[in-house]
Symmetry: C2
Subunit: 439 residues, 2 copies
């Protein structure tokens, strides 16, 4: 008996999916639930369209625009059951997973838990730097950015003003590059008009990258284009060094240099969200080792998909990249294999079709690596980027609202919303004030 | 010297406005800043369109739709200065107000701080009941509602399920009535399809009102119409009793009866946000006593507007109602009087023009008290309500997006967004996990 109010699967096979990201969402979407009962667990009740979180953080679009409510997405789906729960452990012998609300039995288990920020054991950085992996992260970062700008207007101390106006971004991957670009655009088109009492030319954006290039995994041309664009937009680039410490006031780099800053944004490292319980040989470097049928090593009814899976083959000897397309295609392949099994048809191995890479840097500035070695930049890449991202958003509402917001921002050079919805200044409303008895 | 980076007013007179609600916003908007320097303080960087907070709480529209960023609203305004600060005290002799970032000198001071929830000294209720006065309140309430519904699906204990499915709303004013109606609509049109494993007919909404009627201040006809509508929609009404205690599990009413519930929404009492420092005779029942030029008693350069002001005259011997129209008209009148003084023209007394009252209860269900004793209900009242509320929203983006969302909800019987963006379950992400060092 499951403790979470689930109907028994009856004669059907129950598949439990952990995680409603790109992999889990596409798996459930393609699975034939006339043949299977499917239970989806996620700690949030929505899918996060992670590629646009940086736009939420920089007030380009709103948080709900990147969220797809999971129950709504699968309303029409028969024998689909969502539970807002975090998986806490797996018992592969009893075929159950443990959650905060009790255990859930599975016939097949699909792990699609993705990654979380990894601060490499540095508790100081973990306490003070701001990650950008979840919707709450993005909203916290936005609150922090706009609140910091408000604080600039409240002090006449030039050193403190300089510190408040310096933003450090750690990591030169797509999210670091896109965030740095978006902040620079914000400075250029929005902030000067919003803050007449503070010259916004004083804003500094520093991007720190451990290697010697941006956008590792992209083509050399795109990497160089991204670098040139960010330099033109006034972003300071520091290559070949890492953040070694940050105490909330001073960021220290590995080369010994320091930067006084109120904001360090962490886009450098991630680690897999491993659920304990599988045998040790199943996991390497915080990824589940899977075969070409996406089965976790040593198990015939446990699968792993997307960022949390480690799959090597001749084309990808070091494993597949941690991008949305891999997750989407793995989810679809596994669902199609289950559907084939139900019809007595053979399953097929997973083969990744690389559609290329896209990154946006600013207005009319983007890079695109497309199949057949086509590399675009400037407006064409920017246009493709916008088209693809609207297309992949969940639901017509999100597509329409994001399109309208972007179109408006493009025409007016403005941002729709720059609200500090949850201020954390010391001058905040005092929850202790219970209210007095009136006469 | 002001400590908050403000330019000196020079030969101009400086007016400091505390609060960017309906009164403060309309005052600044109408003030001629060629003649005056204006400094606006608010603890948030946005104006809140409070009449629609209940829709944010029930997933009808999104939080940004009811927010007007204050800096953006007054971008074109010369010599306008916003600071995100809470006023902590007034020193009328030195003509300064104290804030968390230092003091600010004023020539004229306009107090428009509005009200906050008042729990009448009951710390238990203050700790467990959910108010609905601010945007953070509305988002917390929405998170709570949808998270509570998720929890229903995680237990098989019938008593616990009943408790989770019972919602108590305290206060039968417009916000209590509108909230009860919106929850009932949610049950009817959305939840059954979203939660197939839980029969949503078990949801109970109990509205507790101390008097013997709903919508005090509205006409008797509208009050009776609202009652009939809510009863038809299955809301339980308890008149003539108050909430005397709530410990997070059991709500106790003054008549001794108890209700097991996980949710008590507080729409019952408010109290003025008084800033300390003015003489005692200036304040009565947490309101500033003002004259017909909106001056606080005993001061010739301190004014109070809106909910925080207490103004009696022959038409309103018990004071003016705490509604948006009073605040808007007071803000406009005071600005016009300042503008008149600058031109050497005479000032005019404040005269409230009562445009009537509107409350929405559900789809095609609303009540409207219009001038000349016209009372509408049903679709006409509902249509006027929607038109007026879209008209008064701040900015074309909010008007367009709210209109599109409402139009879509109306046609599809759906709600756009029902996200638990900040879950507070025990199965939440653990911020302690700093990440391990990988090989």
């Amino acid at each position: 008996m499951d403790a979470v109010n689930l109907p028994a699967p009856g004669s059907k096979t129950r598949i439990v999916v952990v995680g409603g990201g790109f992999a889990g969402l596409n798996f459930v979407s393609k699975l034939d639930t006339r043949a299977y009962q499917v239970v989806l667990l996620d700690r949030h009740n929505y899918h996060t369209f992670a590629p646009l979180l940086y736009q939420v953080a920089t007030a380009g679009i709103e948080a709900p625009d990147v969220c797809g409510p999971l129950r709504k997405s699968f309303r029409g789906k028969q024998d689909f059951h969502f539970r807002m729960l975090e998986a806490r452990g797996i018992d592969p012998d009893r075929r159950v997973i443990r959650t905060g609300a009790g255990t859930i039995r599975y016939d097949h288990l699909v792990l699609a838990t993705g990654t979380r920020a990894n601060f490499f054991g540095n508790a100081n950085v973990a306490a003070h730097a701001l990650p950008l992996k979840t919707v709450p992260d993005a909203r916290r970062l936005r609150n922090h950015i706009f609140q910091t700008l408000e604080q600039v207007d409240m002090t006449d101390d030039p050193r403190e003003r300089e510190r408040l106006m310096t933003f450090v971004i750690v990591g030169g991957g797509p999210s670091g590059v896109e965030l740095a670009g978006a902040l620079s655009e914000l400075r250029r088109h929005v902030l000067d008009r919003d803050y007449p009492d503070t010259p916004m030319g004083g804003l500094r954006f520093v991007l720190v990258e451990g290697s010697d290039q941006l956008l590792g995994g992209f083509s050399e041309k795109s990497s160089a284009d991204a670098r040139r664009n960010l330099e033109e937009m006034g972003v300071e680039l520091r290559f070949g060094t890492l953040l070694s410490d940050y105490d909330g006031r001073t960021a220290t780099l590995k080369d010994g240099s320091t930067i006084e800053t109120a904001t360090v944004i962490w886009g450098a490292g991630v680690t897999g969200e491993i659920i304990r319980g599988l045998g040790e040989g199943s996991v390497t470097k915080a990824r589940y080792v899977i075969d070409d049928r996406l089965r976790v090593r040593a198990y015939d009814n446990v699968y792993a998909l997307g960022d949390i899976a480690f799959l090597t083959n001749d084309s990808w000897p070091k494993g597949h990249p941690g991008v949305a397309q891999v997750a989407i295609q793995m989810g679809q392949r596994l669902a199609r294999n289950f559907n084939a099994l139900a019809k007595g048809e053979p399953t097929r191995p997973f083969v990744y079709f690389d559609k290329g890479n896209l990154a946006i840097i600013g207005r009319n500035r983007a890079v695109a690596d497309l199949p057949k070695n086509v590399h675009l930049n400037g407006f064409p890449a920017w246009f493709i980027w916008a088209f693809v991202h609207i297309f992949y958003l969940i639901g017509w509402r999100n597509r329409l609202f994001t399109f309208l917001t972007w179109a408006s921002n493009y025409v007016t050079y403005n941002r729709a919303v720059r609200l500090v919805l949850e201020p954390s200044l010391e001058n905040q409303f005092d929850p202790e004030r219970v209210g007095e008895i009136e006469e």
